[in-house]
């Protein structure tokens, strides 16, 4: 079903989406999206949303199951505390992407802003995955507690950094894979840079395959470049600072 978001306040648009979903709609195509916030917020179930335009902040916040495709860029706070589902963004995304995200996956074809993947966490079978096609800015994966963050650096200009400063500061779980160079001075004290082993490639592969398929990219080309991995030293970065 197609609906137009033209001129609609987010509250009206989202109520419309909720209403259609409540009355059984499984697939919605929303055109003329222009900055409306909270689309897909708290939405549950096996639903597909296609958004044309630029959705506003907190896209898919607290979302639990649906799949969203954004034909355009996205703003800040995508997948905030998302529990399950999928968000695929054809363009770039802003800051605080995937904050506290606990499950599902987010693919961004382009680059992302600051504080991305903060406090991502995993739980039992829920392992959130975030794949960024381009680069990420400072504080990538800060406080990361679980899940997988992949940054691919596709299409970067020569010399353009793939990540900013303070990568993985306070990280205490999960893993980050970066297809490119990250220097020691860019990362937080709690993480360490490693080379990948067989198991890592096995972990990455299905996600990269899905990413390549979503954006019609060549998987082998992506896999051909060297990756490095960042994991925390310990699950207990702050275990020893108290007197008793």
């Amino acid at each position: 079903m197609r609906i137009s978001a033209k001129g609609l306040h987010y509250r009206t648009l989202n109520e419309k989406i909720h209403h259609l979903v409540d009355s059984g709609a499984k697939s919605l195509h929303v055109t003329h999206v222009n900055g409306q916030r909270y689309i897909g917020g708290g939405l549950q179930g096996d639903i597909r949303l296609t958004l044309e335009g630029v959705p506003g902040n907190d896209l898919a916040a607290f979302m639990d199951g649906p799949r969203i495709r954004v034909k355009g860029n996205a703003q800040d706070g995508v997948a905030n505390t998302m529990n399950a589902g999928e968000v695929i963004i054809d363009g770039n995304a802003g800051d605080v992407l995937g904050y506290g995200m606990r499950g599902g996956r987010v693919f961004i074809r382009g680059s992302v802003g600051y504080r991305v993947g903060i406090h991502m966490k995993s739980f039992e079978k829920q392992v959130p995955v975030m794949v960024v096609g381009g680069s990420a800015r400072d504080f990538l994966g800060e406080y990361q507690a679980g899940g997988i963050i992949l940054v691919l650096g596709l299409g970067l200009a020569p010399g353009e950094p793939i990540a900013g400063y303070m990568v993985g500061t306070g990280m205490h779980g999960g893993v980050m894979y970066v297809r490119g160079k990250v220097e020691d001075w860019q990362i937080g004290r709690e993480v360490k840079i490693f080379e990948l082993d067989e198991a890592d490639y096995k972990t990455m592969r299905p996600h990269l395959r899905a990413f390549a398929r979503a954006f019609r990219l060549d998987l082998d080309e992506i896999m051909a470049e060297p990756f490095l991995k960042m994991i925390p030293y310990s699950k207990r970065p702050y275990g020893r600072i108290y007197a008793y």
Binding site: G41, Q44, F62, I118, K121, F123, A243
Partner: protein, 504 residues
Amino acid sequence: MRFSYLEPEFLVERNLERCIRCQVCVRQCAFEAHRYDAASDVVTVDSSRCVGCLRCVTMCPTDALIVRQNPTTFKENANWTGRVIKNIYKQAETGGVLLTGMGNDRPYPIYWDHMVLNASQVTNPSIDPLREPMELKTYLGRKPERLDVSVKDGKISLNTKLAPQLELRMPVVFSALSYGAISFNASKALASAAYEFGTYYNTGEGGLHRDLYRYGERTIVQCASGRFGVHKDYLQAAAAIEIKIGQGAKPGIGGHLPGEKVSREVSRTRMIPEGSDALSPAPHHDIYSIEDLRQLIYALKEATRYEKPVSVKIAAVHNSAAIASGMVRAGADIIALDGIRGGTGAAPTTIRDNVGIPIELAIASVDQRLREEGIRHQASILAAGGFRSSSDVIKAIALGADAVYIGTSALVAMGCHLCQICYTGKCNWGIATQDPYLEKRLNPEIAKERLMNLLRAWEHEIKEMLGGMGINAIESLRGNRLHLRGVGLTDSELEILGILPAGR
């Protein structure tokens, strides 16, 4: 063991004539202060292990035990007190941050004890609550600017669409105590007591255990920076959602549940791996301004389709009034303020004891500011931080709060002895622990009854005091500061509290 300069804080004395060597104390002490020596058939004690929780004293069948503050003192010194010296020893021995539990225990002024209530004499009658109706019912949430009603054929109907409200039987709510910091049985007692009594309890930031979903309609769930256990069903299950920005016991710093307390059940409820540290960063990383706060408030409202009031909790600090104004404008339906005496499961001692302001001053200044700006009706004020009795509660209402949160009082009702070692996870009273052996000591049914008894007692006392003032509805007392007078306060304290000195 490393040699320590620290003298025992307590002395445990056993009356050997009374002691029957039943070893109850040995089993009851998680700190292993008592030991039984089978060969010589004596029970011995290592006072240096005693934390002063009095569990053994209470359980000893023959009253053979006394626990006393160790009377040994350092040479008298008003500056270098024993507490100061001991803290330095502790830090010199470990190099660590001092940790503590419960609320600030320093002798800051308690303004409740410097405010007195009014009563009717001669010129207006007092009311006897035993024989006349007395309304304590309180609604928390955004109130409309005005009510639009229409009357048709003698029937009145309300045209204004009201914002969602919490309905409290009396203006007392159990404050945020997270599962993980406290035991499952303690959480269950709070949930079931709130449910049966007709008030609310707050999950804290530790998620909602699946067995407690059935109390959902009497539950306020928290969304804190760590987002533990926050998902759609959790938000949906609750009656209200609270964004936790800060906490009175540790303003400006985050939470940290050590990995050893993240048991299987805690891990499932918080939705994090077993045994991993649960770190709540100090800030929400998506909130750097009032505008950002608004974004989270509305993300939560959108996710729950505007069915639930959203509360925002902050620690009471110097500029609370200005912040509260911003919070109301950001869309908060409830402003929760937590004063410097607010409790905690664990906080650095230096923060707990030195950061924040007393809740009395915060209530007065926030209420005043919101009134001046004409937005007081847009949000309710829920005050927290060391409410000890019904008189503290009623004074808070008169100062301008809509209701209060009680945490420590509720724990004390369940058996807490304020030993302040909650952070060790070895609470001998079965409250602040995840150890199954210790947790069993708290019977959730009995604890629920004790909590309800406390609420009933306070309810009755509040009615008595209200009746004495000639008021028959708590609504009429809210912000009615003429019913308060100050005793022993400075002019500026009186001015901030907005009350007159007694005698005037």
